[in-house]
């Protein structure tokens, strides 16, 4: 069953807010993790790991570097396969 984009955005926003302490309003699809949300590479790994659990998808280490914006992460999760 495909995940719903707006649900994924809401869920991912929760994870980002919890990790960064930023208000939910500052998280939007166009925002860059590094430049706008001050998410460094380690925080990014944590966010991705929590997202895997939350949405039951697999996001391999190699894919993480290409996820620059929140929107790209949402797209990736929606399209991602469930873990085996």
């Amino acid at each position: 069953m495909a995940l719903d984009k707006s649900e994924v955005l809401a869920g991912l926003t929760e994870i980002i807010v919890d990790e960064t302490g930023l208000p939910a309003e500052s998280v939007a699809p166009g925002k860059s993790f590094v430049d706008d949300l001050d998410v460094d590479s380690l925080s990014m790994m944590t966010i991705v790991t929590l997202a895997e659990d939350k949405f039951s998808v697999r996001i391999p280490d190699e894919a993480v570097k290409d996820l620059t914006t929140v929107g790209e992460a949402v797209e990736y999760i929606v399209a991602a396969e469930a873990p085996h």
């Binding site: 460094d40 590479s41 380690l42 790994m45 944590t46 790991t49 280490d61 993480v64």
Partner: protein, 332 residues
């Protein structure tokens, strides 16, 4: 077999813990040149301000011997009281003879069974697991468990994946027979599918090549640690029959302060549980990190003797181990 009726199972406790750090605290600024880094980057990503480094003329066995002598004195035991020595290290330059056999002789414990174990940063927790089993089975009354590393011997100063994280030191514990069981079940394992994530640059026998140094794929190890280790920690606490709230201290391997903080968050660790953060001054000392972090908590009095501590080791292998122990001192 006649005469081999197993004795009534004994109860095992940690009787004493002590340790030594390399004598020089090296600041970030001394290391950043060859890795194009900065004091700020290292502090922000790892929490490390200094790491302890041993003198050039000190060997990993020297460090292990210093820690062993101290822990014997603290336990009020003679070296001849030790039946077995388990030395966890990845920085002894010889496959054979073992560092443990030489350590036994050095501290005056000739005749003790002695062997090395290779479980990297999980080595000390593995050793406590072995010692607990030996004492409870009646195979030894006093086991000296040492985690000792001179990681600075295995550093390439131009390697920016791990070199700046590492320190030197040795921590030692004596596991012996006690009135009550003071060591919970060791929950442990390995994941060899990820053996390539942390280790040496090469084996010892590559013709013409320089000796190996240490290297890692940091981001992948970070992700594995923050995913797998909180689960392992919960299993060890459940196996001990207690709740996280019963702990006095949480003593994870000191790999990175960010990892320690992530564990605390993932476990929703109650505020009263004291968290070891020795890495800030000592750096990552692999097998020595858990006993050294424990030694600091006890020395500084942040945790009372007799409190329950959750220790967790994880690293190259990937190998991991966790157990709840009652800290030495106080009510046993």
């Amino acid at each position: 077999m006649r005469g081999s009726t197993p004795p009534t199972p004994a109860r095992a406790q940690i009787l004493a813990i002590d340790g030594v750090r390399g004598g020089r605290l090296v600041p970030n600024d001394d290391l950043i040149g060859p890795i194009d880094s900065s004091d700020e980057w290292i502090r922000q990503r790892t929490g490390i301000i200094t790491r302890a480094r041993a003198r050039a003329d000190q060997s990993v066995i020297d460090l292990a011997a210093d820690a062993s002598v101290r822990v014997l004195a603290r336990a009020n035991l003679a070296a001849t009281d030790i039946d077995a020595i388990i030395l966890a290290t990845v920085t002894h330059f010889f496959q054979t003879p073992s560092a443990a056999a030489i350590l036994a002789e050095r501290i005056g414990a000739r005749g003790a069974a002695a062997w090395d174990i290779s479980a990297a940063c999980a080595g000390y927790c593995y050793g406590i697991g072995h010692a607990d089993a030996l004492v409870r089975a009646g195979a030894a009354r006093h086991v000296l468990v040492v985690g000792a590393e001179k990681l600075s011997d295995f550093i390439d100063p131009t390697d920016r994946t791990i070199s700046y994280l590492l320190g030197d030191g040795a921590g030692a514990a004596i596991v012996g027979v006690g009135a009550t069981q003071g060591i919970g079940p060791t929950v442990w394992g390995t994941d060899g599918s990820r053996a390539g994530l942390v280790g040496q640059t090469r084996g010892w026998r590559e013709p013409g090549a320089a000796p190996p140094t240490l290297t890692q794929e940091g981001p992948s190890v970070y992700r594995w640690a923050v995913t797998a280790i909180p689960k392992l920690a919960r299993q060890a606490v459940a196996a001990a029959g207690i709740d996280l709230a019963d702990l006095g201290a949480f003593i994870p391997h000191q790999a990175n302060l960010r990892i320690v903080d992530q564990f605390v968050k993932a476990l929703k660790l109650p505020d009263h549980v004291v968290v070891a953060r020795d890495i800030v001054e000592t750096g990552n000392t692999s097998a020595a990190s858990v006993p050294l972090a424990t030694e600091r908590l006890l020395r500084e009095g942040t945790v009372p003797g007799g409190a329950l501590a959750l220790s967790v080791g994880f690293g190259a292998g990937l190998a991991y181990a966790a157990q709840v122990t009652r800290l030495p001192g106080g009510e046993q």
